[in-house]
């Protein structure tokens, strides 16, 4: 107890610093948001080329910093995972807290196929996506009856059940010992054996995910998702089959998470049930909301920040997770829409006098059982 004062002082300092950092960054985020919204097609394309260019040469710039390279790979993998959850949460508005399960299914399918049956990576990768997608479908079905918090707990339950199966089904999964010795992926006889190779694989997957998200969001289906999220009854009355859309979101999200899992298995060469816990689901959830629910650039940024931040905070060891918690709280207070939130900008008239009643009710409707 002697260190009570010490701990409190350190945490208060951290809170104050975080507060100002968030305030300052918020300005930056607003600028970025304005920029994205104001940008015309031509500029937009140029910016994207620029970013893609940087991403493509990055590993060569980082070749002397393997730790940063590795962190970048993890960050991009979480971008994929966060975007995959964004299908479910951001698009369809379904609070799923068991997303790590799909990621785990993908990882285990690849691990088992590659280790036990010497299946080539590409096949294992596709199988991971399919199997995870099937589970996504299975989980999607009960969501048709359940809402909000009830759905949340069901998805937590699903995740936990899956983890327990991984732990207990020793004959197949080797239980808690996990599966070591997963081979590196190889394509047409060419084996990926360094982090630069892994970087490009995951980058490709991330591009694919962003592409699909983007196409979807700007289509009739994307608008349908938003409608269902805002008001399911009205959406049905407008001829939208909300059942289909919700299940579609779950299947897509699960399949892509499964792909990320498949990548992870070959990247770390070892899978273990502890990789796919409830906390992992929560982490992915935080990335999505912190970044900006439903906004693709936001979710990407959220995933990067929440992967890099804990690494950056390694220096303060014991205070690391306490500060992580504080960050979540302060972000939610100071920037409820997330880092980059396009909706917020679109509805830029909202402020403290806003028609809170009405819009709040709608959001309540989508996330809680009322």
């Amino acid at each position: 107890m002697g260190n009570l004062i010490d701990v409190l002082i350190k945490l208060s300092i951290a809170t104050v610093i975080l507060y100002f950092v968030i305030k300052i960054l918020s300005k930056g985020f607003d600028k970025i948001t304005d920029m994205i919204v104001a940008m015309d097609k031509e500029k937009n394309r140029k910016l994207i080329y620029l970013i893609v260019g940087i991403l493509l040469v990055l590993p060569f710039l980082l070749s002397r910093y393997p730790y940063i390279l590795r962190t970048s790979i993890m960050a991009i993998m979480y971008v994929v995972l966060a975007l995959s959850l964004n299908f479910v949460l951001g698009f369809a508005g379904q609070l799923s807290m068991g997303h790590a399960a799909f990621y785990g299914i993908g990882a285990y399918v690849t691990a088992l196929l590659m280790v036990n049956f010497n299946v080539p990576f590409l096949l294992a990768f596709i199988a991971s996506a399919i199997v995870a997608g099937i589970f996504g479908f299975l989980l999607g079905v009960p969501t048709l009856r359940l809402k909000g918090d009830y759905l949340a707990i069901t998805t937590i339950g699903f995740g936990e059940i899956l983890r327990l199966v991984l732990v207990n089904w020793v004959e197949v999964t080797r239980g808690p010992a996990g599966i070591p010795g997963i081979p590196s992926p190889s394509f047409f006889g060419f084996t990926i054996n360094n982090n630069i190779g892994y970087y490009y694989i995951i980058l490709l997957l991330a591009f694919f995910t962003v592409f699909v998200s983007n196409r979807l969001l700007n289509s009739r289906l994307g608008q349908g998702f938003i409608a269902v999220r805002d008001d399911e009854i009205a959406a049905e009355a407008m001829g939208i089959n909300s059942t289909y859309l919700k299940i579609l979101a779950f299947v897509l999200g699960a399949a892509i998470a499964g792909m990320a899992g498949s990548f992870f298995a070959t990247f770390v060469h070892y899978v273990n049930p502890d990789n796919f816990t409830y906390m992992e689901s929560v982490t992915i959830l935080c990335m999505v909301v912190l970044g900006g629910l439903g906004s693709i650039p936001g979710v990407i940024l959220g995933a990067i920040v929440l992967t890099v931040l804990p690494e950056a905070l390694r220096g303060i060891a014991l205070y690391r997770y306490a500060i992580y918690g504080l960050l979540l709280i302060l972000m939610m207070i100071n920037r409820p829409g997330g880092m980059i939130n396009m909706d917020r900008l679109k509805g830029g008239r909202k402020d403290e006098n806003s028609r809170g009643s009405r819009s709040n009710k709608v959001l309540r409707r989508s996330y809680s059982s009322r």
Binding site: I161, A322, L328, I329, M332, R364, R370
Partner: protein, 290 residues
């Protein structure tokens, strides 16, 4: 053996029930799955522990201090972390609670150290038998306390004016204020009450297992949440029964199916119940009028 397993289940279930009642009550008022409830429960246990071990106070005053500190903590949390987010979408509040849970766990670890501390033995464990069911004294105390609290809280929420005000605040804060209800006060009272209950549960559980540790709230919180949902979240009697059902199912499941799948069994029961009754056993289905 069945009867023995049944008593195991009821004993365990009453621990769940005790935690779930506080959980569900906070939910009932602000419609927030307070993920930090489990950690307030942990902090409460640590407060009592500190009073006993560091300040050498006797049990009862320590217990009361523990509850009071937790109530204060609950109010502080509500004031500085939750109320600023009330206007934002639901999911933000939810994340705020998750952030608070992570923070409290690590805060406790910084203060008290990461290791499991032994909680002093205070109540000697006498064994009672009751129609084939066996209970220790502490188990009986816990069961009685949780039934008592469930009754008192249901009464408060259902029958008293403040309870009605709580329910109004949970539905529409603005309209509640237009009735002259001081909604901030209501929220704080709710949190104080819920947190004190959490602390009571945490302390009793710590006494029961003779152990306190920073991570004790995590799985307890999750289990309490499951119990609350089985009973129909927001329903206090529901939480009570949800806790008991879960304890019994878990014990019997561990005994007759597999101890490795013990937690899975709890979740499977949960999912089955929700599929048939989407708002839990005692949950009210308030259908939306179109």
């Amino acid at each position: 053996m069945f009867l023995e397993q049944l008593s195991n289940g009821i004993a365990l279930g009453s621990l769940y029930a005790l935690t779930a009642v506080g959980y569900t009550m906070v939910y009932g008022i602000i419609r927030l799955i307070n993920f930090a409830h489990g950690d307030i429960y942990m902090m409460g246990a640590f407060f009592t522990y500190t009073a006993i071990v560091y300040f050498n106070l006797p049990l009862v005053p320590s217990f009361i201090i523990g509850m009071a500190c937790a109530a204060l903590l609950g109010v502080l949390i509500a004031k500085f972390a939750y109320t600023p987010v009330f206007k934002a979408p639901k999911i933000n509040l939810f994340l705020c609670a998750i952030g608070m849970a992570i923070f409290l766990e690590n805060f406790a670890m910084l203060l008290w150290g990461p290791e499991t501390q032994s909680f002093p033995t205070i109540i000697q464990n006498q064994i009672y038998t009751f129609g084939g069911l066996k209970f220790t004294k502490l188990q009986a105390v816990i069961l009685l306390i949780s039934i008592f609290l469930a009754l008192v809280l249901s009464y408060i929420v259902k029958k008293t004016k403040i309870g009605r005000a709580m329910r109004c605040a949970s539905q529409d804060m603005v309209a509640a204020r237009l009735m002259g209800i001081n909604t901030n006060k209501i929220v704080f009272i709710t949190f104080a009450l819920g947190s004190a209950l959490g602390a009571a549960a945490g302390t009793l559980v710590a006494m029961y297992y003779k152990a306190v540790y920073p991570m004790m709230g995590f799985s307890a919180g999750l289990k309490a949440f499951v119990a609350a949902v089985i009973g129909g979240i927001g329903s206090i009697t529901g939480a009570m029964f949800g806790g008991l059902i879960m304890g019994v199912v878990e014990s019997l499941g561990a005994a007759y199916i597999s101890s490795g799948y013990r937690d899975a069994i709890a979740f499977i029961i949960l999912i089955i119940i929700l599929l048939f009754k989407p708002t839990g056993l005692f949950g009210k289905t308030v259908k939306e009028k179109v």
